[in-house]
Amino acid sequence: MKITEIIHDWLFSLMPETTASIVEMALIAVIYLAIFAVAGLYLVLLERRVAAWFQLRLGPNRVGYQGLLQTMADALKLVSKELTGTIKADKFLYNLAPYFVIVCALMAISIFPFTQEFQAFDINIGIFFLIAISSIGVIGILLAGWSSNNKFALIGAMRSGVQTISYELSVGLSLLTMVLITGSLQLSEIVEVQKHGWLIVQGHIPAMIAFCIYMIAGTAETNRAPFDLVEAESELGAGFHTEYSGMKFAYFFLAEFINMFIIASIATTIFFGAYLSPFGITESIPLLGVFWFLAKTLVLIFLMMWFRWTFPRLRIDQLLVLEWKYLLPLNLMNLILMALMVLLGLTIQF
């Protein structure tokens, strides 16, 4: 895939260096915004069709072929809605909150290696950057709840904040467990290491434990069922985004799906070899890497949707007990186990 090089050379030949860099950065930003929007839209549709399949019904299949234009119609509707806002809401924070969530999601997408050439931002602290960025997303939720000046929104935001900062620990520790094998935080190097076999195979038992903990904690991070107490419709209104309508509500809604995509992508990159095909069957066609990446991510997204439509939800104190009394000690012991395994050379390599 020499396209990126061709565009890069062409831009630099056209204009002076600084302008060319800025134009290049703007171009990349636009491409990623487009990916963000399209991914968000089609994930929503996918969720609705998967939910319908579980619930013995059909789901949206009228607007466009098999309902592909459904989310477009919904987005148009949301854009045309009246922007209500409470009088006593803190205007600046109220408007700022959705942007926090969106910007964090965008920044996180930018470092994924979709295929060998297709990675916007390959820094040497890749995993650390990912974890840090997802922590900033919490601020958006707390701001939304506080600035809405609404009792229910506040309760929802507080619950969500507590939940997110607790489960970040588990996410971070399970990723750290895998870093012990790769020896580097940089995402492209992690994929390089997986050419000797996917990390979940290389690390066998501790890696599988780490994967399970990561999936549970990742679902909790994104406030999805069975940890969706924040948005529990049958309890207190709609949680922290009760007072948002129209486009701003759409931002929160989309951000939740993109977060799900991010969690699945991280798992694909760290555990399942990102764009590497199983047993290297299509190694000669690098472009197919995108297909493998998306396929693996979609399987994990399907798993998260499966959770949502099957399990009841946990109560807030049960949620916190799960993290602090069970997942965290398990994670720490798993870390030691993995360290021992790497030290003694017991990993499986191909």
């Binding site: 619930q55 069975p226 529990a232 049958s234 399990f311 009841p312 946990l314 104190d317």
Partner: protein, 373 residues
């Protein structure tokens, strides 16, 4: 568990929150005023009357056949049973001889109604706790029962098929066949309910040990139906004061002793199995005969007071008629099961969390028109 140690250091304020009247978890128009301290509930005060239609006052000027129409709308999920309650009171007052065929068909329809009500309850229970798929599975089975009712009685929800004296018209020729098909189908589906929800660890942790009601409290609060039976209080009207064909069938009264939310849940699931067994015993042996016992067009009950009790899906429904010999009752009182079941909500929800309140209310299985009348 509780935050008493932190409380000693700074004052926490209790504040009041409104749940309802429009709320996905209150199953109708019920407004609950919650006084909460953080997440712990201090007091639950129900505010009723949003769907009060003064049925008791209307009964004082309606004829007895018209009153049967009104009872459909009280507990709309057990409409056959409500109709039967009034019809039994009138028939016992007039001392009418009801044909065996009528009694057996009434019993079968009662049990089908009970299953329909419990499947809806199960679907909504799952939804309240967060498992959103159960709603569709419950309704899928309920639709089959509604179709059977529609063919025989003409309506899916407010059936109005029982009249004083018997049934409005004979059952449809397909009734027996379709009911047998339904039983065979439902027996394969009911274990699915257990697979999906009952055995789930998350579900059990949210239901066990919550909202405990002791047996003495259950009797004192007048709890009846599955709510009472889950606390070990044997209150099945079909056993203690049998009516229609219930003295001829063999069935168990499902009793549990823990009195918590999970026990109430289990009692209803097991009751569905018992209902299936009752229908199976009766469906092949419906006696031939009239479907109607002759009454006057204008029914006048002799002077006196009459009381009959039936077991609806929610508990014990009582109908109390005071008659002065005219064609309208002098006073008609409906003792609704939901009213007594609601009064114990404050007692069992205090000290728990809001999530527990939602689960507890779901297992009390309240239908607000039944309470408000």
């Amino acid at each position: 568990m509780d935050t008493t140690t932190i409380k000693n250091n700074f004052k926490s304020e209790e504040y009041q929150i409104n749940m309802g009247p429009q709320h996905p978890a209150t199953h109708g128009v019920l407004r609950l005023l919650l006084t909460i301290d953080g997440e712990i509930i201090k007091r639950v005060e129900p505010d009723l009357g949003y769907i009060h239609r003064s049925i008791e006052k209307m009964c004082e000027r309606d004829s007895y056949q018209q009153i049967v129409h009104l009872t459909d709308r009280m507990d709309y999920l057990s409409s056959h049973i409500n109709n039967e309650a009034v019809c039994l009171t009138v028939e016992n007052a007039l001392q009418l001889e009801i044909p065996e065929r009528v009694k057996v068909i009434r019993t079968i329809l009662d049990e089908l109604t009970r299953i329909a009500s419990h499947t809806l309850w199960w679907g909504v229970m799952g939804m309240d706790v967060g498992a959103l798929t159960t709603y569709f599975y419950g309704f899928r089975d309920r639709e089959l029962i509604n179709d059977i009712f529609e063919e025989t009685c003409g309506a899916r929800l407010t059936m109005n098929y029982n009249i004083p004296g018997g049934l409005m018209f004979d059952i449809h020729p397909n009734f027996v066949k379709r009911t047998k098909e339904f039983i065979a189908h439902f027996k394969t589906k009911l274990p699915e309910y257990d697979l999906l929800l009952t055995g789930n660890v998350i579900f059990q942790k949210r239901m066990k040990g919550i909202g405990i009601l002791s047996k003495e409290d259950a009797i004192s609060f007048g709890a009846s139906g599955p709510v009472g039976r889950a606390s070990g209080y044997s209150c099945d009207v079909r056993k203690h004061h049998p009516y229609s064909a219930f003295d001829k069938v063999n069935f168990n009264e499902v009793l549990k002793t823990e009195g918590d939310t999970f026990a109430r849940y289990q009692v209803r699931i097991l009751e569905m199995w018992e209902s299936l067994s009752i229908i199976e015993q009766l469906i092949d042996n419906i006696p031939e005969g009239d479907f109607f016992a002759k009454t006057n067009t204008v029914i006048k009950l002799p002077e006196g007071e009459y009381y009959e009790r039936v077991e609806t899906a929610r508990g014990e429904l009582g109908v109390y008629i005071i008659s002065t010999g005219t064609k309208n009752p002098y006073r008609m009182k409906f003792r609704s099961p939901g009213f007594s079941n609601l009064s114990l909500l404050n007692h069992i929800a205090v000290g728990g969390k809001i999530g527990d309140l939602v689960a507890t209310m779901a297992t009390l299985d309240l239908v607000i028109p039944d309470i408000d009348r």
